[in-house]
């Protein structure tokens, strides 16, 4: 029998990667190309989508060659992508209308402030499960309509197509201007603020509110079903999955049951909790999102808490303060002291995100005394990630009927043992790291392989998951309580630092 593989394409914020996985979910080969980050103005972040498409056409044959795998040995293709990044292109020619506006871009900040006052968060939460934030695509479409002359009219005339990254790539893979499929999946669509979270269809009231014409939107499909053949890159091979990267990571971590959660620790961190087929509306500052949906099976929902600054605080410590020369050295420096010495850092560099959502907060370092060394600061940097995780988990436990019993982790910061132990200590649940660190790519491969019949069911995927490391809680409960109180007092001191305009 010919060995067959599943191909995963992860179109991420910094690079486009192609990974082949075998039947055991083991990584066979990787190819990766970075793309340029464009910062035309402070707070603006853009990507050249033609560059990204060309990178995709390069990494696919590179990954096949590295694994010595022929195109006929690929059973299916799955795509995971950076979410919310907004691409507009011309229906007739396939030419992009400017660069993509990336999820980190904050040009819609003033629009967000307006919408939160009128019509207010409730209007949006009721329909799409999301409060207004600079992350989401609908605000960017509105911004483009308001700032690019004639664009809105052309969109109404059906000349312009919208998509997030997976839409753009699938459209090009399946033929582009020559009959390409204009589709998205429910996980990506759930991040636009345009999809109704219950019906998984574009919401007429939201479309009307943002003035987005339906004819520019892709068709919403299941994250795991056969879409079409990837003619341009791999003739004859079907694309059978597309998921947003964080949902892909949840799937790759095999969090298939209600109450299972994962946190991806990177520049920022994203904690997703599977809430099963129940749509849980958060009363504690979390987002309701689609976790996954396999073919015609019921939709599985998730609660999401995103933390803006985690790994980027370590980068700041390295690049701006110059106290360490590489990110992993933060652990070495932190271990030069026994504890934080009473020092806390709240990294509200651009306000506080989940669960507090306070844009008027700015970062603070509190508890400074002449006793504090750079080792204590290093501890405070790592502990900030632990406490921010705790706040999101507390919000999830308050919103969900199933309390968190274990946290599955992935991402670059999981190599930091001190941090992972601290996370286990403050959450008071075991923290486990899986053997395949590439959970985003693995999740897209799993969804694609399921839809293509390469894997029969979720149970088989569960058996592929293996524990690579586990950290058990080992903190005195009284200390956990008092340290958490200290952290919360530190957070209070970060609030209200930015005053509204006009206030002296």
């Amino acid at each position: 029998m010919v060995e067959r593989y599943v191909m995963s394409i992860d179109q991420g914020t910094n690079s486009t990667r192609c990974i082949l996985f075998d039947h055991h979910g083991r990584l066979v080969s990787v190819a990766q190309r970075e793309h340029r980050q464009h910062f035309p103005r402070p707070g603006w972040v853009e990507h050249d989508v033609v560059e990204i498409w060309r990178n995709l056409l390069r990494v696919v044959p590179e990954a096949l060659a590295a694994g010595e795998v022929g195109p006929d040995e690929v059973a299916a293709i799955g795509i995971a992508n950076q979410r919310e990044t907004t691409v507009l292109w011309e229906r007739r020619t396939g030419a992009p209308l400017g660069r993509a506006i990336v999820w980190q871009d904050t040009r819609t900040a003033s629009l967000v402030e307006e919408l939160r006052i009128r019509p207010g968060d409730g209007f949006f939460l009721e329909r799409c499960g999301l409060p207004p934030s600079t992350y989401f695509s609908a605000l960017r479409i509105r911004w483009l309509f308001d700032h690019v002359k004639g664009l809105e009219e052309r969109a109404r005339d059906g000349e312009v197509l919208f998509g997030t990254m997976e839409s753009w790539l699938i459209w090009n893979l399946t033929g582009g201007a020559d009959g390409g499929l204009h589709i998205t999946d429910a996980t990506n669509a759930s991040r636009t603020m345009l999809m109704n979270i219950r019906s998984l269809a574009w919401d007429d009231e939201l479309l009307a509110f943002f003035g987005v014409p339906r004819c520019m939107l892709p068709e919403i499909r299941s994250p795991a079903e056969s879409y079409g053949e990837a003619g341009a890159a791999l003739p004859g091979v079907r694309i059978t999955a597309a998921l947003g990267d964080q949902q892909a990571a949840l799937f790759g971590q095999t969090c298939f049951s209600p109450g299972e959660a994962k946190c991806t620790y990177g520049t920022g961190s994203f904690l997703l909790l599977n809430t099963g087929t129940d749509l849980v509306r958060s009363h504690h500052g979390l987002l309701t999102t689609i976790a996954y949906k396999i073919g015609d099976e019921p939709t599985v929902y998730a609660l999401e808490g995103s933390i803006a600054v985690t790994g980027s605080l370590v980068q700041w410590f390295r690049d701006r303060l110059g106290l360490i020369s590489s990110a992993p050295e933060i652990e070495t420096l932190a271990r030069t002291v026994e504890d934080n010495g009473g020092c806390y850092i709240v990294p509200a560099f651009s306000g506080l995100f989940a669960p507090r959502w306070r844009s008027d907060a700015r970062g603070v370092v509190v508890g400074l005394t002449s006793y504090i060394t750079k080792g204590h600061l290093a501890r405070a940097v790592l502990e900030a990630t632990g406490w921010q995780t705790r706040e999101v988990v507390d919000a999830m436990n308050a919103d969900s009927s199933v309390p968190l019993r274990e946290l599955k982790v992935d991402g670059g910061m999981t190599s930091d043992n001190l941090l992972m132990q601290f996370v286990a200590d403050v959450l008071d649940v075991p923290v486990v790291r899986p053997m395949v660190a590439e959970t985003v790519s693995l999740g897209a491969a799993y969804a694609a392989g399921l839809a293509a019949g390469y894997w029969p069911d979720l149970e088989v995927l569960r058996h592929n998951w293996h524990r690579a490391a586990q950290w058990l809680p080992d903190m005195d409960p009284a200390r956990r309580v008092s340290e958490y109180e200290n952290w919360q007092r530190a957070v209070e001191r970060s609030l209200g630092w930015i005053r509204p305009p006009g206030v002296l």
Partner: protein, 255 residues
């Protein structure tokens, strides 16, 4: 205690002199600046050149600091950095071999476990990062001893403990075993720390080929070893792939 060694003092003075400015210096200038006879200065410069601390310009014959000296301060590799750079390869090694993986670096006459990946069978295992292993009775330790990362005297003083009847405890036994490790490029430990257990390890090299740590597999002796009590060739191949991949990532050119 003996007094300062004059030639080392003079070599240090020459290095300081060369480091003092951007200009290359000729032999006469070096000798005159430090009040040394030309013959003495020449001998020291040639020795420094031999260890790559000094380079001589082919056209002018003048001297400058060597590239090796520039890397001297950076050849130390932070253990957390080592873990971070190894983690994907160590995971892949555990997944493919079906055994647990550890990385070790020397620490005060022992092996510090800096990274540990569980055996992928989901049995109850506890993380051993931060624990210490004996140099003489672990495969990781033997690699560190064989490639000069840890001095043999540290393993022999105090007298090494005999954990089992297979533990190597004499200088002669260890010297022979370490020669074998250098010959094959890997170290095995078969029931030398505890009966029924075995391990095999290889060096991780950084810049210039310097051994910065060791990576090893360990598990039940019947899984690690073949009928002759030798590590299974398939496991050694997987281990070699991982050790080389990490070494390449760390900048060891020829690996």
């Amino acid at each position: 205690m003996a007094g300062p060694v004059q030639s080392i003092e003079r070599a240090a003075a020459i290095l300081r002199l060369l480091a003092g400015g951007p200009r290359r210096l000729g032999l006469g200038e070096v000798a005159a600046s430090l009040g040394l006879a030309k013959g003495t200065a020449h001998g020291i410069l040639r020795t420094l050149q031999h260890v790559d601390f000094v380079e001589q310009d082919a056209a002018t014959g003048k001297y400058q600091l060597g590239a090796a000296l520039l890397h001297l301060g950076t050849s130390y590799l932070d253990v957390n950095e080592l873990r971070s750079r190894s983690i994907n390869w160590a995971d892949a090694l555990a997944a493919r071999s079906g055994e647990s993986v550890r990385l070790g670096t020397p620490l005060e006459g022992r092996v510090l476990v800096v990274h540990h990946v569980f055996r992928p069978d989901d049995t109850l295992q506890s993380l051993e990062v931060g624990s210490l292993l004996p140099l003489h009775a672990s495969s990781l330790g033997k690699v560190l001893l064989a490639f000069g990362s840890a001095p043999l005297d540290e393993a022999l003083e105090p007298a090494p403990e005999a954990y089992t009847r297979h533990t190597l405890v004499t200088r002669a036994q260890l010297t022979q075993a370490l020669a074998d490790v250098r010959e094959t490029g890997w170290a095995a430990e078969v029931q030398e720390m505890s009966m029924g257990e075995a391990g095999v390890a290889m060096p991780i090299r950084g810049h210039g080929g310097l051994v910065v740590g060791a990576i090893g597999l360990s598990g039940a002796v019947e899984r690690i070893c073949d009928g002759q009590g030798r590590p299974r060739p398939a496991l050694v191949t997987l281990l070699r792939d991982a050790a080389r991949a990490i070494s390449r990532d760390l900048g060891a050119a020829r690996w």
